[in-house]
Amino acid sequence: MNENKKITVAIAGNPNSGKSTLFNAFTGANQHVGNYPGVTVEKKEGTRKYKGYEITFIDLPGTYSLSSYSEDERVARDFLIKEKPDMAVNVIDASNMERNLYLFTQLSELDVPVIIALNMVDILQAQGKIADEKALSSLLGVPVFSTVGNKEIGVGNILDAVISCASDPQFHGKERAKVDYGDDIKEETDKIETLMFGDKSIVDLSKKWIPVQLLNNDPFAVETVSGFKNKDAILEQAQKSGKHLEEHFSKRADVIIAERRYGFAKSVVKTVIKDASAKKIDVTEIIDRFVLNKYAGIPVFAAVMYAIFKFTFAASEPVVNLFGMFFDKLGSFARSLFPEGSVQSLVVDGIIGGVGGVLGFFPLVLFMFFAIAFFEDSGYMARAAFVMDKVMNKFGLHGKSFLPLMISTNGCAVPGFMATRTLDSKRDRFITMFALSFMICGAKLPIFALFIGAFFPERRGANIMFLMYLLSICIALGASKLLSKTVFKGEPAHFVIELPPYHLPTIKGLLLKMWERGWLYIRKAGTIIMLASVIMWAGFAYPKAAENPDLSEQEYAAVQIETSIFGQLSKFLAPAVKPIGMDGSIAIALVSGLAAKEIVVSTLGTIYSLEIVDSEDAEPLKEKIAADPKWSPLKAMTFLIFCMIYMPCFAAATVFFRETGSNLKWLALMVIGNTAFAWIAAFLVFQIGTLLKIGV
């Protein structure tokens, strides 16, 4: 088992049981992420050197059972059966013990040597209950230790137990508690087991597990048996037994088995969970009574979203201004550093003007990520999905669509498209993918922040931003409704979501999450946005206009932009965007945004930087735009609506194409449909606004 003192431990548990937190506590930074061969399930592995042993931990995917119903379940089961770790640490959420023990019943039937980490006992205590770990250990026949993963309580006990179990020759063969399925089921499983007797292939698997899983209609069990000598007889018996049980109980065999497993779990919970003397208030229940209320749920969700925007704008404003000033000063400094000419313009107007325009909003993005991480980590986002399920259903979307929509809103549409894989029906997936192409992703955020900052300053900024987000949600819902009534007819599938107990997020956790997402923003600015800025700059700076001594520097800069390649190109695009109140150079910025949406801002930064010829004139981009007479609040609003709806960037479009089965029809519908819709919406807003003289 421990040759060279090496131990392999699989960590198994339900989603949200705190499995990954414990894995992190066990392994610290010594971990790496890979994948299980041939599947899209993440494989996390980490090592820990402890008391002379090298313990390798494998964080299995979070699953509720070990059947073959999902890829995660298959991966977890295959790892336990084929890779044969020395033992498994079964992480059980103490506050949800009944449901969590269901997995244990299967681990036990598979004869996997198990240690139980009874996690989140602090939450159980907060509910006014305590768990008797000794009683649990003696009932289940496995070592049990209480843990609080996020405070690293009990981690040492588990590590000690891993070592002592690994050194105990009796540990592997020890009898662990198994579910008593009753005489009727046992009689049937015995019949199957007898037929399997003597087959060598069964050596690797528990003889108890296969018959039960055959009655459970588990494809893995059927597949395993098909390699046996008397496979036909076994499968025939399994079918007969299933039929017999169904007639006897008037229920399907798999339902009876699940009931017995839950019955076992229930009786264990009844024995080991005790009410503490002084019952504490269950905070989760109290909050949920309000948050999940039929009438209050949606207003609470809206209030949370509003609070996120209010916090983001209010808290970040001074820092954003400081960042803006910093890049202006940096521009002026660079201008003084280089001699006047092309290199100076490339550095100041192209790189600093472009990248600075995007990086100027870095604090805003950080604050937004922080606020969203707070609600994610607290457990509220699962409630939001639950509350929104009803609304989403009305618009032809599935409750599970909420997660991809949120991923897209909080970061990027690419992982959003990927996340739609969690939706089971093709119809639900496709509608969700179309819907999320309208959401305001993290890359569009700087565009909105720039124009809202320029034309709707002070307190109104957060309100306008919130309204824009609401508008994007309404457009996404409207498009979903339209698609569900036309292209993708049908009803969304049912939705089940687990509501984890509320936690007070840790500052470290929030900062880590904020930084992880924020770092991506900086990386993108330093790579793709910087490269694109250089190209955009060259497009507006070349070819050079003929020198004209009659023109002032300012006038010459305008002529230069007109003469440039993009200036010429913009003349072609101008007629298409004129009805929506924009000129050709804005159209160029919109086209450049197809490489990445932040590039809309960096291109505008470059254009405005090229127009400013005196370093003394340097001011933040939003002030330059606010002072430019060709813009107005109405034009800004029209521009934002266009940006909200028009086709996503190339990266997102590529992923959309692949995730919709590489069918050009869907890509064309999204690219042409979204852009045409964006133009019509912008046209209506601009023309009606002009007619009514709103914000002109």
């Binding site: 992420v33 899209t40 290199v343 490339l346 991923i407 990027c412 991506l520 490269l531 990266a651 590529t654």
Partner: protein
Amino acid sequence: MAQTIIVFTAVILAIVLLIRHFMKNKCGCCDNKDCSKICRYKK
């Protein structure tokens, strides 16, 4: 002249690197951690 060469090299380099960036990411995606994981699975 020197300035023109520097600028020309920078622009060509930017174009090459940008194309390389998109070619390198087979799934055509950004540097997002979530999708680079998925890119890895795809290989």
